[in-house]
C-alpha cells in the first residue's frame, strides 16, 4: 500500500513538472522572429541552382541574391540587384551586365563575375536538376555554358545566346532563385564526390542575400537568420525566420490562434473566410500567377474531337458556384490562359454557366444524349484551398446536368502525370503554376504543341496558334505583342481543349502583430519591409 502511494506521489510530481510549459532560448526574441506554419515536406534541397519546389525556392530567395530582381510585387519591371545596369543587343541574343562593386557574400568574400559564371555552370551541370531547363531552353547547356557566359572583367558579365530569346523572359529568369549567385570560393572548397558542393549547401548557405541558413531539419523546420554582411540594402528588422512544418491546416489554424505561429500558409478557403471575422488576425491575399483548368483530350475522347463539344463543356461549368461556394471567394474569374498580373492578361469572360446552351452545342456536335468520360485528378488540395475531391465532384455534377457522365478517378499525381504526359488521359483537372513572370511561360505550354507540353499532352495540334505563340515569344512588351496574345486567348476560347476554371488567390492567415506584409506570387515574402510588434 505504501509503495503504491509513493509511486502515485512520484507520478503526480513528475506530471506537474512536465506539465508546465517551458521557455525558449535563442539569439533573437519573439519580436524579431517570424514563425510561418507551412507544409515544407516538398523541399528536396536548398541548393539554389537545384531547388525547384516552392519551399526550397522561397527560402533560397532570401539566402541568395540575383543579377536582377522584382521589387514590392511589381513583376513587369526588373530592378537592379547585383547588377547595377545591363544592355540588351537589338537581336535579343547578347546580354551585358555591369555588376556593382563591393557586394559581399555571407562569408565575407567579394562577389565578382566569376561567381556568376560558376552559378551558370552549376545549373546546367548538376545531375537530376529539375530547374535546369530554364537555362537549357535558351540553348545553353553543359557543353556550351563556358563559351556562352563570359566575364570581360571582374565586374562585367556577357551572356551570348545561340538564338534570340525574349528579353522579358530572360530577365525574369535572371531574377529566379535558380540563378541565385553562389559564393564560388566557399562552395568549391566543399565539393565531395563531384557533387558541385550540393550536399554541403543543404545545411549551409553561401549567398549574398539578406539572410543565411541556420538549419534545415527535414520534415521539421527551416530556420534562417539575418546575414551580417548583407549590403545590398538596409538590414531587415526581422532577424529570424522559422518555417515550421505543420501539415494539417486544421492544426495550422489552431497554432495561429494560440499565437504559436505568426503566419499560416495553407489554410482552406472556409478557414480563411472564418478568419476574416476575427479581430486579432487578417487575411493577406494576392492573385496567384496560376490557374486551375480542365483539360480535354481531343483524340482519346471522340466527342472532344469536335470544337462544339469542347465549347459545350465550357458552358456547362458553374464558374460562380465554384468561386463563391467552394473557394469562399478565394479565387478570381479567369477564362484566358494568361493570368492577371502578367502582360497579355485578358479579362474577357466569354463563357457563362448556361446548361441549355451546352446541351444544344452537344447536339450540334453529334452527341445529343451526352457521352461518358473519365476525369483524372490528384489527391490533396487544388490551388485556392479547395480539395481536389470536392472540385472534381462539382465538375461531375455540372457536366452531369447536361448529359456528360463523368467518372472521377483520384490518383497520386505521379501516376496521373505519367498518363497525362503519355497523351493517354481523357480529361484532367489540374493547375498550372508560373516559373517566371513572362506571358510566354503560359502561352507556350497552352498554345504551342511543338513544345510537347500541355497542348501536346491533350493531342491538340494547332499550327496557326503555335506560330502566333512563337512569334510573341521573342517580342518585348509592346502593343503588338498584346494584340497577338489577345488572338491567342480568342483561339483558345473558341477552339482550345482547356476550360479555365479560375485564378486562385494566394492567401495567408496572418496575426495582426505582423505589419507591412508585402508578397508576390513569384518570390513570396518580402521580409525586408516586414515589421512585427
Amino acid at each position: 500500500m505504501r509503495r503504491f502511494l509513493v509511486g502515485t506521489l512520484v507520478c503526480v510530481l513528475f506530471g506537474a513538472w512536465a506539465g508546465v510549459p517551458g521557455g525558449f532560448a535563442a539569439n533573437y526574441g519573439p519580436q524579431q522572429t517570424v514563425v510561418i506554419a507551412h507544409d515544407i515536406t516538398d523541399a528536396v534541397t536548398l541548393d539554389p541552382n537545384l531547388a525547384y519546389e516552392l519551399s526550397g525556392t522561397v527560402t533560397d530567395h532570401q539566402l541568395y541574391s540575383n543579377l536582377v530582381t522584382f521589387v514590392r510585387g511589381n513583376l513587369t519591371q526588373p530592378r537592379p540587384q547585383v547588377a547595377q545596369s545591363w544592355d540588351v543587343s537589338p537581336d535579343s541574343r547578347t546580354y551585358t551586365f555591369h555588376l556593382k562593386h563591393g557586394v559581399v557574400f555571407s562569408s565575407g568574400n567579394p562577389l565578382t563575375a566569376d561567381d556568376v559564371i560558376y552559378t551558370f555552370q552549376r545549373v546546367v551541370n548538376l545531375p537530376k536538376d529539375p530547374a535546369s531547363w530554364l537555362i537549357t531552353q535558351m540553348g545553353v547547356d553543359d557543353k556550351s555554358v563556358l563559351s556562352a557566359v563570359k566575364a570581360t572583367d571582374p565586374y562585367t558579365l556577357v551572356v551570348a545566346l545561340p538564338k534570340p530569346f525574349s528579353p522579358g523572359a530572360f530577365l525574369s529568369i535572371m531574377a529566379n532563385p535558380v540563378t541565385g549567385i553562389v559564393d564560388s570560393k566557399t562552395v568549391k572548397a566543399h565539393v565531395q564526390n563531384n557533387d558541385w558542393g550540393s550536399n554541403w549547401l543543404n545545411d549551409h548557405s553561401a549567398g549574398s542575400g539578406p539572410y543565411e541558413l541556420v538549419k534545415w531539419e527535414r520534415q521539421v523546420t527551416i530556420e534562417i537568420e539575418a546575414n551580417p554582411h548583407y549590403n545590398l540594402g538596409p538590414a531587415p528588422s526581422i532577424k529570424r525566420i522559422i518555417f515550421s512544418n505543420i501539415i494539417e491546416n486544421t492544426v495550422q489554424r489552431e497554432m495561429l490562434g494560440r499565437g504559436d505561429v505568426d503566419i499560416a500558409w495553407d489554410l482552406s478557403a472556409s478557414q480563411l473566410d472564418a478568419l476574416k471575422h476575427e479581430a486579432k488576425f487578417y487575411v493577406a491575399q494576392t492573385p496567384d500567377l496560376s490557374m486551375q483548368y480542365l483539360g480535354m483530350d481531343v483524340k482519346n475522347v471522340p466527342a472532344f474531337g469536335k470544337p462544339a463539344a469542347r465549347q459545350a463543356v465550357k458552358y456547362a461549368i458553374d464558374y460562380d458556384g465554384i468561386i463563391h461556394d467552394l473557394l469562399n471567394g478565394n479565387g478570381l474569374p479567369l477564362q484566358g490562359v494568361i493570368p492577371k498580373g502578367l502582360f497579355g492578361y485578358d479579362a474577357a469572360l466569354p463563357f457563362k454557366h448556361d446548361p441549355a446552351k451546352a446541351k444544344s452545342l452537344l447536339s450540334e456536335a453529334g452527341f445529343p444524349s451526352g457521352f461518358t468520360v473519365e476525369l483524372l485528378t490528384g489527391t490533396g488540395t487544388a490551388a485556392g484551398g479547395v480539395s481536389l475531391g470536392d472540385l472534381a465532384a462539382k465538375i461531375k455534377n455540372d457536366l452531369g446536368a447536361v448529359g456528360i457522365k463523368v467518372n472521377v478517378r483520384q490518383i497520386a499525381s505521379s501516376e496521373m502525370l505519367k498518363t497525362y504526359r503519355a497523351q493517354q488521359a481523357q480529361m484532367v483537372l489540374l493547375g498550372w503554376y508560373v516559373d517566371y513572370p513572362d506571358p510566354d511561360d503560359f502561352a507556350k505550354p497552352f498554345g504551342d504543341y511543338t513544345q510537347k507540353s500541355l497542348a501536346w499532352r491533350l493531342n491538340y495540334a494547332n499550327d496557326p496558334l503555335a506560330k502566333l505563340v512563337d512569334q510573341a515569344a521573342g517580342m518585348q512588351n509592346t502593343p503588338e505583342r498584346a494584340s497577338i496574345y489577345k488572338k491567342v486567348n480568342d483561339i483558345e476560347a473558341q477552339d482550345g481543349p482547356f476550360a479555365v476554371l479560375y485564378q486562385p488567390m494566394i492567401s495567408f492567415g496572418v496575426s495582426k502583430r505582423i505589419q507591412n506584409l508585402v508578397f508576390d506570387p513569384v518570390n513570396y515574402f518580402d521580409f525586408l519591409s516586414m515589421t512585427k510588434q
Binding site: 517551458g22 525558449f24 515536406t41 531547363w133 489552431e254 494560440r258 502525370l417
Partner: protein
Amino acid sequence: MNLLRYVARRAALTVFVLFGVTLITFVISHVVPADPVVAYLGEHAPPALVEKVRHQIGLDRPLPVQYAYYLRDLFHGNLGISIMDNRPVNQDLRQYLPATIELSTAAILVAIVIGIPTGTISALHKDRWPDQIARVFALGGTSLPVFYVALLLLGLLYSRWGVLPGPGQLGIYTQTPPHITGMVAVDALLSGDWDALRDALRHLVLPAFVLGYYSAGLITRMTRGSLLEVLRQDYVRTARAKGVGEQRVVLRHALRNALLPTVTVIGLTYGSLLSGAVLTETIFSWPGLGRYATNSVTNVDIPAVLGATLVIAIIYSGANLFVDILYAYLDPQIRYT
C-alpha cells in the same frame, strides 16, 4: 533439438523471409503505374530532361539488372539514393527511425500502464461492475477509428483548452538537444537539457496516447483472459482454501504466470504499431518512419519505398522472432514441431 539450434534455424529462416520481402517490394514498386522521374521533376519538365534524369538515376536499365545492382548495394549496407530527398536512404532512415521508435515505445508504455492494471481489476471482479466498465473500455478502445480520435483530441486539448502543446516533437522555440540517439526525449535526458526534456515529453503525450489506447484495449483483454485462466488452476484454489492472507501471494504468483501470453502480445503489438503510426504520425506531424513510408509510396520514390519496407519488415520479423524464441525457451514442446 536444443535451443541454440532452434534459434539458428529460425534466424536463418527470417533472413530468407526478408530476402523474399525485398524481392516482392522491388517487383511491386517497379510495376507501379506511376513514373518516379516525372514525380520528382514536376509537371513543367520537358521530355528531354525527363529522359536525361531517368538515365542518371539508372531507371532505364532492365529490371533484373536493377535488382542485381540493388542487392549488391544492399550487401554493402547501401540502400540507394532517395529520389524525393536527394540523399542516401540510410541518412533518411537514420533520421526518421528513432522518432518512430520513440513514439512506439511511449505508446507501448501507455498501453501497458493502462492495460495491465485494468485487465487485472477486470479479472478479479469478474462480471461485477468494474469488470463491465473495463471491458467496455477495452472494447471501445479497439473499435474507435484512430484517425478521428487523434484529430478530435488535438482539436480539443490543444486548440480549445490549450492543455497540451501542438504537433511536432518539440516546440518551435526549443533548441533541439544534441544528436545522440536521435530520439529527442532520450537525447534531452542524456544531455541534461531539462527544458527540452520537459518540452519533448509534453509533445509525446498526445501521440503516444492516441497510438497506445488501441493496444491498451488488446492488453486489457489479454491480461483479463489469461489471469482468469490462471486463477482457475488448482494451486490457486488450494491457496485460497488456506486463507485470505495467502491471496496476496497468490495474486502476485498468478499474475506472473498470466503475464506470459500478455508479453507475447506486447511483443507482437510493438511491431504492428507501425501501422497505426502511419496515421498518427501524419496528424501530429511526427517525423517518423510511418510517414516516411507513406510519402515514399505517394511520391513513387522507389529506393525509399524499398528501404522503408525493409526496415519495417526487419522490425516486425525481429519482434516475431523474439517472441517465438521466448516461447520456445519457456515451452520446450514447441521446439519439437
